[in-house]
């Protein structure tokens, strides 16, 4: 079975960050199965991000975790890693792996200013992004950035801290209020006592502060530790259901289809949490490609920015500009707002952010300027004039060749149809074609395509993927 152009675009926008019109054309003869298998094949390799080197040179010099925190602290390095990842998303062939790494990054949202540990967590998530959710959950529960972020360092037998135990149930597995009690959290908190980061930034189980006593969790009593709790959570079908709902919203539609999510849950639970099997089931379904589910997701700021970066191979003179754009649009990689991760769909859009999104392509490709900065960082003093000047807009380099290589009609109305078909996934009857017509610079074939494409990307409808 072959797919329509729109369906192929849909596949790539949802499982990655979009492919060029030319790439879509080249693959139009492949069957659905071939396309889906290619996605997995292209994402087989797992390439870690290694931007931040392990910062401890002399282990003896690091006396304690407090000192470790100091050594690792670098907001600048976190920003650099952010840009490295963003560019990776844009350039890699392993689109599906990076897209799913992005999904799990929002799911296991962590924010600490320690670049090395954030990078390591990102690599851990990337390793399991298409693999086993069971293994990923176990790995994340022992992840240094996570343990520091959710205060498990302070979770000791004498003075338990339930923060991690609570979030594991509330946000990572069962979902808020779904099948656990306050007492389950308290007892699970005891099971995670002693799970901590050592002075070298690695996980360790500290037997002295671990509570080895009996705990009663979900009605069972035993000498449980953290791993036991994770396994108990995975035993509950509710965990599979919670993850499937979230994935449905991420990959298919904000409007949940409970019946289909039940089928997904069966696949996920019965495969012992194989993410690949679940994803393959979703992508091979009619549900995924149904017309009602195409062009209905509001692209998150990351998805929007990477789509531009990928399609036009954008190169910015200064990283600060792309960080500024993330801030202004409301999503900065490696800096989620809180443990619950980013919001979804309509929450991305307010008057200011919509206007910003519409001006973005005009700025990227036209002759407009825009100050790309977001909110003031609470830990920084206000920018001086000189610092502000550093943020000064410089147009990025853009490569239009992928678009120029596609056959396109000269006749303007037909050109509008073709470019709308390539760039807009939603319905297009809301679009005023006469103002598109007026935006065309007809001085050459290239200018015609560039001017029209730029303005199509400035439409509200372009925000929908």
């Amino acid at each position: 079975m072959t797919l329509s152009q729109k369906q192929i675009q849909h596949l790539y926008l949802r499982t990655g960050f979009g492919e060029s019109p030319r790439a879509v054309q080249l693959r139009s003869s492949l069957s659905k199965r071939q396309l889906v298998e290619k996605l997995f094949k292209d994402s087989q390799s797992i390439e870690a991000i290694t931007h931040v080197p392990y910062p401890i040179k002399n282990a003896r010099e690091v006396k304690d975790v407090k000192m470790l925190r100091k050594i690792l602290s670098s907001k600048k390095m976190v920003e650099e890693t952010n840009v490295v990842w963003l560019n990776r998303m844009a350039c890699t062939e392993a689109q599906f792996r990076e897209k799913m790494t992005f999904f799990w990054h929002g799911h296991f949202a962590t924010k600490i200013p320690m670049a090395y540990l954030m990078q390591e967590q990102n690599n851990t998530i990337r390793t399991h992004a298409l693999g086993s959710f069971r293994q990923m959950l176990h790995a994340v529960s022992k992840d240094p950035a996570m343990l520091l972020f959710l205060n498990n360092q302070q979770n000791r037998k004498q003075r338990p801290n339930e923060n991690f135990a609570r979030e594991v149930m509330e946000l990572f597995t069962l979902g808020e209020g779904n099948g656990y009690t306050e007492n389950d959290i308290k007892e699970a908190g005891r099971a995670f006592t002693g799970w901590r980061v050592n002075r070298l930034g690695k996980f360790e189980m500290d037997h002295e502060t671990h509570d080895g006593g009996l705990k009663t969790i979900f009605g069972r009593t035993g000498n449980f530790d953290g791993s036991d709790v994770i396994d108990m959570l995975l035993e509950k079908r509710q965990t599979a259901n919670y993850i499937c709902r979230k994935l449905y919203r991420f990959l298919i539609s904000h409007k949940e289809n409970a019946q289909f999510i039940e089928q997904m849950t069966d696949v996920f639970y019965e495969s012992d949490y194989s993410i690949e099997e679940l994803l393959r089931y979703m992508l091979m379904s009619d549900e995924f490609f149904a017309e009602r589910n195409i062009g209905v997701r509001i692209a998150s700021p990351t998805e929007l920015l990477v789509r531009y970066l990928r399609l036009f191979k954008l190169k910015f003179k200064r990283d600060r500009i792309i960080i500024g754009a993330q801030k202004a649009l409301g999503q900065v990689l490696l800096l989620p707002p809180n443990v619950a991760g980013w919001s979804e769909q309509n929450d991305w859009i307010d008057s200011s952010s919509l206007l910003y999104r519409m001006r973005l392509p005009l700025v990227l490709f036209g002759n407009f300027e825009m100050i790309l900065e977001g909110k003031q960082d609470p830990e920084e003093p206000e920018l001086s004039k000189a610092e502000r000047a550093l943020l000064q807009w410089r147009k990025p380099e853009a490569d239009w060749s992928e678009l120029f290589k596609v056959d396109m009609p000269n006749e303007e109305s037909a050109l509008i149809d073709q470019l709308l078909g390539m760039l807009i996934q939603s319905r297009t009857d809301s679009i005023d074609r006469s103002s598109l017509m007026r935006s065309i610079d007809g001085s050459s074939r290239e200018n015609r395509i560039m001017s029209l494409a730029t303005h199509i990307m400035a439409l509200p409808e372009f925000q929908l993927i």
Partner: protein, 396 residues
């Protein structure tokens, strides 16, 4: 929110009507200013303002013992009463206080205080319990309650909109300069797209984006028109807070139909070398607010305005080893306006000896301050905004 617009909106469904508004802009009658409308201006001090060096307990030995290097000396303090005085950079505020236009609420916070800037700011902006994460802000939910809300009902002077002004149904509008905002919409294609006659009634994602765009365009026009009404001649400082408050004053004087104005002033995260930094940022705050109040008074609008100043947390009682202070908990908030019932120092400062992990214990839940503003100033049902009942304070 105002009769003209409400009557107009009754004609059609909400979606259709709001999409038609842009074309109606030529008749400025639509935007009859609200009469005797009250507004609240929120000034957020970002970074965690050191409340103890802002309102100084200058008779308290514990204060001086804990801050051998950082304490404000008795002879530098600007006294408010026998026990408390303001930081020397706040001379303008001392005058406001003496005029009976300021109320200081001490020990404002919440249980189980969070010492992360981001988390604590979210708690303040969403008015959530310390262990709950909410997706909407308290001022956004306030606007949601209004019949026919519009983005310009809640304005923020910033590049991006704070969570505080995001409601479920309606979100506020953020901008730095109404003129620049207006010119952005003048770009021919954006203009054409925003104004294109659209009979799109479909309640889908495209409809949502188009509706937001139409509301944005009408709000931008409205604000631009309002911003032309009055141009302040008061001398404001050339800081971003100064410029922002000037914009706010101009809109208030022009009787913009805006219930909430929001602006932030940053630079309060004083871990290192606090003294000079704190003097600078407090001084900027003092100058800008003084000019703002002067402007409002001159235009007889100060009686219609309530200014709230808060920060996400105070700082530890003890100074640290770097001539600064680290993240703390409860702190003071200021309420200013021409119509205060109970100006002055509202309550006692929390004990400096009975501390919670080195920090002041809160004595007033911050949501009581919010309910004060909602119930007693704006005449709004605070329970619908805050989700629970917090007794308002008899300040306004």
């Amino acid at each position: 929110m105002k009769t003209g617009r409400r009557d107009f909106l009754r004609i059609g469904s909400f979606a259709t009507a709001s999409l038609m508004i842009p074309q109606m802009l030529t008749s400025s009658k639509l935007y009859d200013p609200r009469k005797n409308a009250k507004s609240v201006v929120v000034i957020q001090l970002t970074g965690g303002n050191d409340g103890l060096n802002t309102v100084v307990p200058f008779r308290n030995d514990i204060y001086y013992r804990n801050r051998p290097k950082l304490a404000i000396s008795k002879n530098e303090v600007l006294p408010l009463d026998d026990e408390l005085g303001l930081h020397p950079s706040l001379s303008g505020l001392q005058e406001v206080f003496r005029n009976g236009d300021m109320s200081i609420v001490n020990g404002v916070g919440y249980p189980e205080p969070n010492r992360s800037h981001f988390r604590s700011m979210d708690i303040w902006q969403t008015a959530s319990d310390h262990d709950r994460i909410l997706g909407t802000g308290w001022l956004g939910r306030l606007i949601d309650l209004q019949s026919d809300p519009a983005p310009y009902n809640a304005l923020e002077i910033d590049e991006a909109l704070s969570l505080a002004l995001k409601g479920e149904r309606m979100k506020g509008l953020a901008f730095k300069d109404p003129e620049r905002l207006y010119s952005q919409l003048q770009e021919p294609f954006i203009q054409a797209t925003a104004r294109s006659v659209n009979h799109d009634h479909v309640h889908d994602e495209v409809g949502y984006l188009r509706k937001t765009l139409a509301e944005t365009a009408s709000s931008v026009d409205y604000l631009y028109e309002r911003s032309k009404v009055y141009s302040s001649r008061i001398d404001y400082p050339q800081t971003s807070l100064g410029k922002g408050l000037k914009t706010i004053a101009e809109l208030i004087v022009a009787e913009s139909d805006t219930m909430v104005y929001y602006i932030s002033h940053a630079g309060f995260d004083t871990h290192v070398g606090q003294d000079a930094k704190h003097r600078k940022v407090l001084g900027q705050y003092d100058e800008a607010v003084s000019a703002f109040i002067k402007d409002l008074k001159k235009n007889r609008k100060f009686d219609d305005v309530l200014i709230l100043t808060f920060s996400e947390f105070g700082r530890r009682v003890s100074q640290n080893a770097n001539g600064g202070t680290d993240h703390g908990a409860a702190s003071n908030v200021f309420l200013m306006g021409g119509k205060l019932n109970r100006p002055g120092v509202f309550n006692e400062m929390p004990s400096l000896s009975d501390l919670d992990n080195g920090d002041l214990r809160y004595t007033v839940d911050f949501r009581s301050v919010y309910s004060t503003i909602l119930e007693r100033w704006l005449d709004q049902p605070s329970r619908d905004v805050l989700g629970q009942w917090f007794a308002p304070l008899p300040i306004v």
